[in-house]
Symmetry: C2
């Protein structure tokens, strides 16, 4: 039986051009359910319904959006076991603790934070010039297409992840595309989305879902004027294609694409906390078979005995740890290709480097090494992202060489520096920080990059090619909501026609607004 797409609050047969199935990666077996590859007719009707919902949503009070998000979160929590088991079957990720205790909890937490931000309303930065009667705020941008990645079937899923929550909180309908690695999970979650949307009385078509389309049709949709914005998390190749299609028509597109997350370990830290750092690195790099966008893929170490011991210790742990299950044969193929590229550029293979035998999708934990001069000779090749449990050790002769290496880094989501607590690395850390800071979204001290807290202070973003714009974050309310908004100004508009956050009277007495240069909750004209 072929699954149906979610169109205008109805499960509807797809105008499909073929179908696909997901895999059980742990068994290396095809799963029986079939999902449609939509033709353009599907996309056309989804876009039309979404545009209609966008118009209706403009008049929906934020409380209704918030109620939807809260209720949706509760429904997902209530169905945690079924969702996690299905997601585990499709991804090979363990139900416990990963899916049920961590990722689903994070997902519903995000939905609830989005609800709170929608209720609060200050994300929209209402600004009033009472003397000139000019008023502005950020407002819904229109239908948002959310395209999630393979590695987070829940927290970044287009139907319930961070982009989804942010787009809804801003007042937009969402068209979600399932990732082909976990379509059944996505379809199950979408049933809860639909029930919650209808319970909240949101317009039909506020949440819609399809499963797959051809690349050409995807780029056609990306450029469609009915679409307000796009949120994408995935590989660089697809990300750049979506970005180019949307950029050409001036449509905001937020792509989180690739990152090797450099980790610089300075000599004092290595002397001080050797075992700790070995342990932290191995955990961070091997967890979930390394399938994190913040996986530490490049480590810069000091040349010498301690650095050599570090590499040996990591190599031994990599060899001893069993290989995790990969999400797909695609991830395995891209690991093979990435490692080949590093080897071709001159990297030395220390451990791993091959697919695991057997039906399970798996690849050996892999460690490679080069020296600083090699990196500096081929900085582009040695920044090949290898998505999985693989990392490249770069042995640098000096702090100056380390700084030179850092200065050749592309944009990354994160950059970590381990440095002594005793003062011996202070100068080196200052030098490296100066080079690293503009190249990463999040700078860490004495901490591995995996683990992205859902915090208002988080930046899960960074300079190109990590993302398409260094000013935005994909995680962290309220900032992440602002990606899916347009700035709306009202100049001399009559008060009765203004959106409620911009009227003289503070809508609930609590909304923070910038009135005549001061952030305040008072009413206009009532000092």
């Amino acid at each position: 039986m072929l699954h149906q797409i979610l169109f205008r609050d109805t499960w509807s047969p797809s105008a499909s051009q073929g179908d696909f199935h997901a895999w059980n990666p742990a068994a290396g077996e095809a799963l029986p359910e079939r999902f449609p590859v939509s033709r353009r007719d599907d996309l056309e009707r989804l876009l039309k319904a979404s545009a209609g919902a966008a118009v209706e949503l403009r008049n929906a009070p934020p409380e209704r959006l918030a109620a939807f998000l809260d209720d949706y979160a509760s429904r997902l929590d209530a169905d945690a076991s079924a969702i996690s088991e299905l997601a585990s079957r499709e991804t090979g990720l363990p139900v416990t603790p990963r899916l049920k205790d961590v990722e689903l909890v994070r997902t519903t937490n995000q939905l609830r934070q989005a609800a709170a931000a929608a209720r609060d309303g200050s994300w929209a930065m209402p600004t009033i010039d009472s003397k000139l009667n000019i008023r502005s705020h950020l407002a819904a941008i229109g239908p948002v297409w959310c395209i999630g990645p393979n590695n987070f079937p829940l927290a970044y899923n287009g139907i319930c992840g961070g982009d989804f929550a942010a787009a809804i909180a801003a007042g937009n309908p969402v068209i979600a595309k399932a990732h082909p690695c976990h379509p059944a999970t996505t379809a199950l979650i979408a049933r809860h989305a639909l029930a919650a949307s209808q319970a909240a009385g949101l317009p039909a078509g506020t949440v819609q879902l399809f499963f797959q389309c051809s690349p050409e049709d995807g780029l056609w949709m990306a450029a469609d004027p009915r679409l307000g914005a796009i949120g994408f998390t995935g590989g660089r190749h697809s990300g750049l294609a979506f970005k180019a299609a949307a950029d050409a028509v001036g449509k905001p597109v937020y792509v989180e694409m690739s990152s090797i997350n450099p980790v610089v370990i300075l000599p004092g830290a290595l002397a001080e906390r050797f075992d700790d750092i070995v342990g932290q690195f191995c955990t961070s790099c091997l967890m979930a078979a390394g399938q994190f966008c913040t996986n530490p893929g490049l480590v810069i170490l000091p040349a010498g005995e301690a650095g050599e011991r570090f590499i040996t210790a990591v190599r031994d742990k990599f060899a001893a740890a069993s290989a995790g299950t990969l999400l797909s044969t695609g991830v395995r193929d891209s690991l093979v290709a990435g490692i080949q590229k590093l080897l071709a550029a001159g990297a030395e293979l220390l451990v791993g480097g091959n697919a695991e035998p057997g039906p399970r999708f798996a690849f050996q934990n892999t460690l490679l090494r080069i020296n600083g001069a090699q990196f500096l000779a081929k900085p582009e090749a040695f920044q090949t992202e290898v998505f999985g449990a693989a990392s490249l050790m770069v042995v640098a002769e000096s702090i100056a060489e380390t700084a030179n290496i850092v200065a050749r880094l592309d944009g990354n989501l994160t950059g970590s520096i381990y440095w002594s607590q005793q003062g011996t690395d202070d100068l080196a850390c200052a030098t490296i920080s100066a080079a690293l800071r503009p190249r990463v979204g999040r700078l860490l001290h004495d901490k591995m990059p995996t683990g992205v807290a859902v915090s208002a202070a988080m930046n899960h973003g960074g300079p190109f090619p990590a993302t398409g714009h260094p000013g935005f974050t994909a995680v962290g309310f309220p900032a992440t909501i602002r990606r899916f908004a347009a700035l709306h100004c009202y100049d001399a508009c009559r008060e009765t026609t203004l959106p409620s956050p911009l009227r003289d009277r503070n809508p609930d007495g609590k909304l923070l607004r910038l009135i005549d240069g001061t952030w305040t909750t008072i009413d206009v004209g009532h000092p």
Copy 2:
């Protein structure tokens, strides 16, 4: 004598490939001064110096940036007569009131508002999660290339306009490109910029200037990784080229390109305030020869006697008013081409349509008309921007047709609705507003779009193709500063290494920060 470029705080001979001169548009005469067309060598050294200045600027306290901006404003005010006279000679715009009493005052006001915002610091939205020790704020993005337009020799000039002020307030060095219409004015202003920069002790190369380069070299520079962002105001052709070059390498690029600024006049308003609206429209459309990006280029009127009378009254005023002076022969050529395109699509010429005879750069005030059906048949052709004192009247049969026309509009900077004070247009206004709101950055009631107040609540921006991203404004502090910033997050970083706005202690006791979900000025850990 060939002018020199401003490189690293020194007036330096250009590596030029030829030179150019400006014109006195009022006399139609070439001006004697010669300005270099820079070769790539110039751009290369400007970029290198700017990248160096960016590193040094990271440690500059905001007070130093603010002092520079304030002092720069004072120096421009003190030299107001010379600057205005030179700008008038190069642009044909009158010294009084336009340049000296309005545009220069606006320009120095912008610089001072930028100074105040830099001192205040809240534009950067410092955000602290004290429990997780994650902290973030917006920070300098790197060298900003500011490219100003022909029509504002002061307020949008790359060396002193809104983009310049915003880029500096965010802590970035600026490379300004003069507009070829007013290079001498720009060179004079740059002397004041240099003096102020040196007086404030800013790093050498914080403010640099060149005059012109080839289009190919310009696109090469737009893609250079040393450049953090680009601010551009000008025509759509150049804007799209810069945007494409920067987008391809993921560099933030803010282009303000084109807008026809639709004005909808509803029947009740026409009955109520006929003469007023005729007067307001003619003033707005003819002022400064119509050379404003917010010029009302499209008016949608009700069919019938009042609409016909309106068109006749406007036509008579257009015919009676003398033609203003155009900035260049380029503006004249593009007026000819734009009007030809409208005529070819079927518009009827009511008055004007030809260049004025004589040496002065001038074009007759021009009014054209079509009906709603014509617009709906060729919406693209009838949205041709005609930059100058020209406007297209669209006579619509009904409110429904008006709404259909509005629904076919491209993105614009502004949209105006004139509607009755007596209630007769309320329903129509609601219908038109719903269609117009998502298509414009600034919605106006009973007001023409020209006149862009420098207010925190202003949006001088809008959906594509008015600009490249509907979430940003080119006018209005502090929002406009955020265009030139990257989001910097610090995760578990030791406090002594944090930028001062993110340390536990509020740097001046007044900085507004989002700490654990509350906007506050208290110190971290001191409730």
